[in-house]
């Protein structure tokens, strides 16, 4: 239960507009952070600013230990006032950081065929996870070689249009296979990314397969229906508006299965953001 949480500050290194409404921001933390895992997030706000009032939750897109200290990387989309304010930050600006927070993706050791399926900005945490798996950061140093040969990572990335395919540079660097779809057919196959995955599913060895996903709710819901008949472990990263990020405001509740009550609300910030897809309930 007790977990040490970091409350600190960071300095913006750069904040690059990589696609329409999408930015990649990197920060140098004021203190070293060695346990920031894929799937986790931080609450972030510009230091000394009262508007916007609340911090915004951003999932980790990359974590690097450098000589100067820990660098955190975020890929985010501007959707409102808070993310717009973050997009205005430039090199040298100071931010307040709370985190890393939440439950990370869990690596399943005996499943070597890893499928990562993302929609839109959902690519951010999965791109970091791809890097983490490709570099075998979950395994002890002396077992890395054996691991590298056995793990196969395939990334499915869907977006509305070619210009909204974000995180590809990182994804292509770390995944052997990348499958793409767009709603308008401007890149990859036309249609839903879940449809593309469904076509391939028959060819995959389901006993060796594990799935990780992040994206819009309708996509997660389709995925949930699609894999229901199969015994494939699937973890998904969920999103809700948050005020505190530490389980106090109860603002980020989502509906999950509950053994005794049938269902219950639980907090995305502390019990998630990564959930087993079988635990999610849909209206």
């Amino acid at each position: 239960m007790k977990k040490k949480l970091n409350l600190g500050s960071g300095c913006v290194i750069e904040n690059v507009n990589t696609a329409k409404d999408h930015f990649v921001m990197s920060l140098l933390l004021s203190s070293t952070c060695e346990d920031a895992l894929p799937g986790q997030f931080v609450m972030i706000r510009k230091q000394g600013v009262k508007d916007p009032l609340l911090s915004r939750p951003l999932s980790l897109y990359g974590v690097y230990q450098t000589e100067a200290g820990t660098v955190l990387e975020f890929l985010y989309r501007v959707v409102g006032k808070g993310t717009w304010a973050l997009s205005r930050l430039t090199g040298g600006d100071q931010v307040d950081i709370l985190g890393p927070l939440g439950r990370p993706f869990e690596v399943i050791p005996d499943r070597n065929h890893v499928v990562l399926l993302a929609g839109g900005i959902g690519a951010a945490p999965l791109a970091y996870f791809a890097e983490y798996l490709a570099k075998d950061l979950d395994r002890p140093a002396d077992r890395k070689e054996e691991a590298a040969s056995s793990r196969n990572i395939r990334f499915y990335l869907g977006a509305t249009t070619a210009a909204a395919l974000v995180g590809l540079e990182k994804i292509e660097r770390f995944c052997k296979e990348v499958r793409i779809s767009t709603d308008d057919g401007s890149a990859g196959s036309a249609g839903m990314i879940t449809d593309l995955f469904q076509k391939d599913l028959a060819e995959l060895d389901q006993r060796d397969l594990c799935l990780y996903s992040c994206g819009p709710s309708p996509m997660i819901r389709s995925l949930s229906r699609l894999i229901e008949p199969f015994d494939i472990p699937c973890q998904v990263s969920m999103e809700e508006r948050m005020a505190c990020g530490i389980g106090a405001c109860l603002g980020c509740s989502i509906k999950v299965r509950d053994a005794s009550l049938g269902w219950a609300y639980c907090q995305v910030c502390t019990e998630g953001p990564v959930f087993d897809i079988k635990d999610l309930l849909w209206e």
Binding site: K3, L5, L54, L250
Partner: protein
């Protein structure tokens, strides 16, 4: 060291910095950020007789200098609180105040009775002002007769100090304050959130699934301050000021107006160490102005 101790209806606190119910969980959530024992008191998330699921999401939205919430009193229920949350809270030295909410007047009495028998509860805060539940809450706080009925029933079953949390969503808050004082309340806390709403113009739907929510944060501070000032002029019992306090100067405004203590709410979400920063700021202000006792500040407004 200046003396910051205050007395809230018989409850002695070493300083006037309290946490507002619903913004501080059950205390433990903040244990890795601050020494909880440095606080004047912890007021925990509102408790109902049975566990409550709360409202469907989305439950919060940021607005200009504030936020709307419609959590709907998601809580573990009074029994689970006593069994699962109190053991940890009892390990602390800080007084724990339980905030209670019933669906009817009788339920308030039942919850009060259970908590009064539970070791470690220092006081009760009776919530007759939650705007986000269909039964209870504001239904009692908007009417002086029903407010008095709830307070009288709670008072019959407890020896603990009873603080009544008032709603700003009324025509005359001072009238409600006088009514609950006459019914035996030991102290008042005000204000709860102000009912508001916000609309997504692209989809033309409310931002909150509950449609309306309670507004908190700096946006409501002038209103809270005005109401505290109105109420302290009409009642003799101590008043705890709450509403948009973000820093020590905000807290000082409430004290100067006449609040005996303050509660910190939304600020906890923005910085989990806000309470301690505010406490340190109070110390610094007192030292700067050579004030030895907090009572040299409380109720010293000159108009």
């Amino acid at each position: 060291m200046p003396d910051l101790s205050v007395d809230i209806g018989g409850l002695k606190l070493k300083n006037p910095i309290l946490t507002a119910s619903g913004t501080f969980g059950y205390g433990e959530e903040y244990a890795s950020f601050i020494n909880l024992n440095d606080l004047g008191a912890i007021i925990v998330k509102g408790l109902s007789l049975k566990p409550r699921m709360g409202n469907p999401p989305p439950r919060i939205i940021e607005t200009a200098s504030g936020m709307l919430n419609a959590i709907g009193l998601q809580n573990v229920g009074v029994h689970a609180f006593i069994e699962k949350k109190m053991p940890y809270l009892r390990t602390l030295e800080v007084p724990v105040i339980a905030n209670i909410l019933g669906e009817n007047a009788e339920e308030y009495r039942q919850i009060a009775e259970l908590l009064s028998r539970a070791p470690g509860v220092a006081a009760l805060e009776v919530n007759i002002s939650c705007p986000n539940v269909s039964k209870g809450g504001i239904a009692f706080g908007a009417n002086p007769d029903s407010a008095m009925d709830v307070v009288r029933r709670v008072k019959t079953v407890t020896d603990l100090p009873v603080i009544v949390k008032l709603s700003p969503n009324v025509t005359d808050i001072a009238m409600i304050a006088e009514a609950v004082e006459s019914a035996g309340a030991d102290a008042l806390s005000l204000i709860n959130t102000i009912t508001g709403m916000s609309v997504d113009i692209e989809r033309r739907i409310p931002h909150l699934k509950n449609i309306t929510g309670g507004l908190s944060g700096p946006a409501i501070k002038p209103i809270a301050l005005r109401m505290v000032w109105q109420v302290v002029n009409r009642v003799k019992i101590p008043v705890i000021g709450v509403g948009g306090i973000m820093d020590a100067s905000d807290a000082l405004e409430f004290l100067i107006v006449g609040a005996t203590a303050v509660q910190i709410g939304t600020a906890n979400f923005i910085n989990p160490q806000s309470t301690i920063h505010i406490l340190n700021g109070l110390h610094a202000y007192m030292e700067k102005h050579h004030i030895g006792n907090i009572h040299e500040i409380i109720g010293t407004l000159t108009c």
